[in-house]
């Protein structure tokens, strides 16, 4: 990857406590939501983070947004550990990293006018005076394709796609460097989805934004990402530039995911790889590959040894024993 690194995640771990094992046991039960994840975001590029629900991709995003404390590891923003930020530095970080979430209905405060909602970050950070803020709100509404007289309306008057545009306008209000997009189009209709994705890509070009794009939808990720990481049960199993991962997927899980993408051609035979069973309980993973129970390639060795994420070809990292052996 070329370019300037803006955010670096080193061995990030986030465990959630599920209470004590029993009344008389002092040992706390832990769920490993994110268990040792490394990646870097480069300026002006989009990093796609893919995986099924519950694999820890949103938790990773929330750790970067400092909504959760982290269990282990570090997150470096422009070389500085974000969890050491206090006071002014903390506010500076808040200004530079913004987010758009999945649920366009839960993202807007139903009792706040759209104008106030978009203005709020600027108000909190004391940027501009009241008149300039109003002007900027009108401008931002224009940027995301809404009209400036929408500012005085309440959220219930808007559709899902419009709401997501409002969220994007708010996220842009402070001129951030990095925007975490946590499934921003998953709740939208297919037709609206393309509009929002194109808007996001246009804005990226215009404002030089860096995106962390979290999604379970590979076709969407393929459309927008420069670099893709596939997560399975709290770990990254494959990471490569976008075209490489879609042309030459190596990890069996990535293969299975890709075969699930629907092709708009009924003549084309689909050899979908159907995975058996559910993802393993993340509490019971002691040893071995975490994908072994559902893998069509698993051997006895996979039961015993946990694969490392290793570079099998330039820029292409995979965590699979059998792939590593073949190379």
């Amino acid at each position: 990857m070329k370019g300037e690194s803006i955010l670096k995640v080193n061995n990030l771990k986030k465990y959630f406590s599920m209470g004590k094992e029993g009344i008389f046991s002092g040992k706390a039960r832990m769920v490993k939501a994110v268990d040792g994840v490394d990646f870097s975001l480069y300026k002006g590029q989009t990093f796609g983070l893919v995986g099924e629900s519950g694999c820890g991709k949103s938790t990773t995003g929330r750790c970067i947004l400092k909504l959760y404390g982290i269990t282990n590891g570090e997150i470096l923003f422009q070389g500085k550990n974000i969890h050491s930020f206090e006071g002014k530095e903390r506010m500076q970080y808040r200004r530079e990293v913004q987010a758009v979430f999945q649920d366009p209905y839960g993202s807007l405060n139903p009792r706040m006018r759209i104008g106030e909602f978009i203005e709020e970050p600027m108000l909190v950070h004391g940027t501009f005076n009241s008149r300039d803020r109003k002007k900027r709100v009108a401008k931002l509404l224009g940027v995301v394709g809404l009209s400036s007289d929408h500012a005085s309306r309440y959220p219930h008057e808007f559709s899902g796609g419009q709401r997501q545009r409002i969220c994007i306008a708010r996220a842009l209000s402070l001129n951030p460097k990095l925007v975490i997009l946590d499934e921003p189009v998953s709740a939208l209709d297919v037709s609206i989805r393309a509009q929002i994705l194109n808007l996001l890509m246009d804005l990226q070009e215009e404002f030089g934004l860096t995106y962390l794009f979290i999604s379970h939808d590979l076709s969407v990720v393929e459309h927008i990402s420069d670099f893709v990481a596939v997560m399975y049960l709290a770990k990254i199993v494959e990471m490569a530039p976008c075209d490489m991962i879609f042309k030459n997927p190596l990890h069996p899980y990535t293969n299975a995911l890709l075969s699930a993408i629907l092709v708009p051609d009924p003549e084309l035979a689909q050899d979908a790889i159907i995975l058996e069973g559910d993802a393993a309980d993340p509490r019971g993973l002691e040893k071995g590959c975490r994908f072994r129970d559902r893998c069509f390639n698993a051997t006895d060795e996979c039961m015993e040894k946990e694969p490392e994420l290793i570079e099998v070809e330039p820029n292409h990292k995979v965590a699979c024993l059998r792939v590593a052996q073949k190379k």
Partner: protein, 289 residues
């Protein structure tokens, strides 16, 4: 257009009776001096225990009769409305504003803070209201101000519980996370993002509690812990009238009716507000049309 007709549908369902009762009592309390035919404390021993006008021996001068000291019952009820409504409004305002804050803090922060506040609530709920009131009034001495304080302190728990429940639901919304990401202070998140979602149920609760507070004040006055004579209070009038019940029933009956009417009025209005402010109910109203 659609919006205004929706609003109209809700207003059409307004409890005209309840609103009229409340409005009448408020007007009467405000203009007691001009409306009351007599002074509430002037005694007229020669006309003591005179019956209401529609009974034999009743006069038009004393419409609802007089008490054992010859004081006009109607005038005492009119002046008593002041006490009841003042106690109702102020006590609800005090307990509501204490309770909503505890509820917000308890629900938003969770964990230990939540446990401590909710255990306090449990402890208070485990003690009978009247016992706490007896102890506090015993310590502070009976007066109108102290009655308001006591009711304010004893009834905050209901508001706190309801507010906490609302907060638990609201804080899961992504707009709360977005507010944190924007850098909002905790105070701002509580006041601008969470409080507006809590306020509806607090208003409804307030109206329903208003009736209960009036009964509570009457009960305290009935026990002699409330407003002290000769100031007219509905509760005291009930207590005083009790001993004459067998041969001068109007002493206790009319203040009793007054309490019943006000409480009925507030409950009707409270029920209506609850339906109107609850989005689910509102949808049901829309569906019916």
């Amino acid at each position: 257009m659609a919006k205004s007709s929706k609003l109209w549908a809700q207003i059409k369902q307004a409890p005209v009776g309840g609103l009229t009762i409340l409005f009448l009592f408020i007007v009467v309390a405000l203009f007691a001096k001009f409306i009351a035919p007599h002074s509430p404390i002037d005694q007229d021993i020669t006309h003591a225990l005179s019956p209401p006008f529609f009974l034999e021996g009743g006069t038009w001068n004393y419409l609802l009769g007089t008490d054992e000291l010859g004081r006009d019952i109607l005038s005492r009820i009119i002046f008593g409305a002041r006490i009841s409504l003042v106690v109702g409004f102020i006590a609800v305002a005090i307990s509501g504003s204490i309770g909503v804050w505890f509820g917000l803090i308890s629900g938003y922060f969770g964990g230990k803070v939540d446990s401590v506040i909710m255990r306090l609530v449990d402890i208070q709920l485990s003690m009978p209201y009247i016992l706490i009131a007896l102890a506090l009034i015993g310590a502070l001495g009976p007066s109108l101000r102290n009655i308001i304080i006591v009711i304010g302190i004893t009834s905050w728990v209901t508001y706190a519980r309801v507010a906490r429940g609302d907060v638990l639901g609201i804080k899961e919304n992504e707009f709360v996370d977005l507010a944190k990401i924007a850098g909002c202070s905790t105070y701002r998140i509580l006041v601008r993002h969470i409080f507006p979602g809590v306020v509806n149920s607090q208003i409804v609760l307030g109206t329903l509690m208003f009736g209960r507070v009036i009964i509570f004040e009457a009960a305290l006055s009935f026990l002699g812990l409330g407003v002290q004579p000769p100031t007219p209070s509905w509760g005291t009038m009930l207590a005083d009238g009790r001993q004459y019940l067998t041969y001068a029933w109007w002493l206790a009956t009319f203040p009793g009716f007054a309490i019943m009417l006000v409480v009925l009025g507030t409950n009707l209005v409270g029920d209506w507000l609850r339906d109107m402010l609850d989005p689910k109910q509102r949808a049901a109203v829309r569906g019916k049309r």
